[in-house]
Symmetry: C2
Subunit: 204 residues, 2 copies
């Protein structure tokens, strides 16, 4: 086991962190290699010792972002015992996704905010990992439907996309919010999607 990082590995990581931050703030095309290099006190040309191209850099940010999100969600799901209800599972999945998104905001928001605006090659290279994660969510709602946990007239497909939209959009506004914990936020998100906002038995 090799916990000590070589200088090469440390710098590699610092560059990737800086790239993620700038890609998330200014977009892929709005970020120059020079600005990434400046963020780590280097010259632009030096980056090529660590990365073969700007595309490669973005690629690595994307892959890391998807890995962080999916593995955090898996961790939260694994905390559940076998008798967990659909509500518990959805809450855990949302908690994992939100923790990942808001804790590793540079990576995940770089991924989310540049989605669909990247060179085709970069986009396609990250598609398989994205699909695999999406498949996890599809399965979650399919199981819930089979178990009879969700209303029959709710479109599962739309429900999933709605939840994704809410969660992902939080990476845009979260910085402004210092008062709420990520855990509380995730719980409140889940509550809205599980029970809606109307007062019980009320329709006004």
């Amino acid at each position: 086991m090799q916990l000590m990082q070589t200088k090469r590995e440390k710098t590699h990581r610092m560059v990737l962190d800086a790239a993620a931050k700038l890609f998330s703030e200014q977009g892929y095309h709005g970020t120059s290699l020079k600005s990434i290099a400046e963020a780590v006190n280097m010259q632009a040309g030096s980056l090529y010792y660590h990365f073969s191209s700007k595309d490669q850099l973005m690629q690595d940010v994307l892959n890391k972002s998807i890995y962080i999100i999916y593995s955090t969600v898996k961790t939260e799901m694994n905390k559940l015992d076998e008798a967990a209800s659909f509500s518990d599972k959805l809450k855990a999945a949302i908690r994992g996704h939100m923790i990942a998104i808001l804790t590793y905001a540079d990576y995940t928001s770089a991924s989310i905010r540049n989605y669909g605006q990247l060179p085709d090659a970069v986009h396609y290279a990250s598609q398989p990992a994205r699909d695999e994660y999406e498949q996890f969510w599809r399965a979650l709602f399919e199981q819930a439907e089979i178990a009879g946990a969700i209303r029959a007239d709710v479109d599962k497909h739309l429900l999933r996309l709605s939840i994704f939209g809410s969660m992902n959009w939080s990476s845009v506004w979260f910085n402004a919010q210092q008062n709420t914990s990520v855990e509380a936020l995730a719980a409140a998100q889940a509550d809205i999607f599980l029970h809606g906002c109307l007062k019980q038995g009320q329709n006004r």
Copy 2:
């Protein structure tokens, strides 16, 4: 009243339409004036007869996008009679926002997807209009709270942001979905936020 458009006005609009489409697909920084000009069979230099700069072009796209969304929402709200419940109002507001977003997808998605990735001057110039629209939604939920329509333990602020996230994210995935009408989609969105997805009285 002047319905006839001059050639100048027609071309101006065609250029703006092309810019909105490309800004939405490739982002502000990823879009060159040359590609906008090509989309309307012109040379890049000729655009400057109609617009003073690339920033100005983006500025106009943003303003038009916000105007379209807010005015469509107002139109839907005005269709309600005075006795309308909070449910009716929320449904109408969501319907208006969704109709605007999905019908004028080039403009609205150019605005949504480039949010926070634009030059400061461009961003700030559109802030007042954005704030005004946000204020409409804030007021909607404040009235609902006073009227006792929403659960006391629901965070109004988060609820609004969640709904915005869901709606805005739909501009990312909607192209893939040809089977559902915008009206039906909006109604389903509203239903999820009003009533949640759980089967009544169920918590599994």
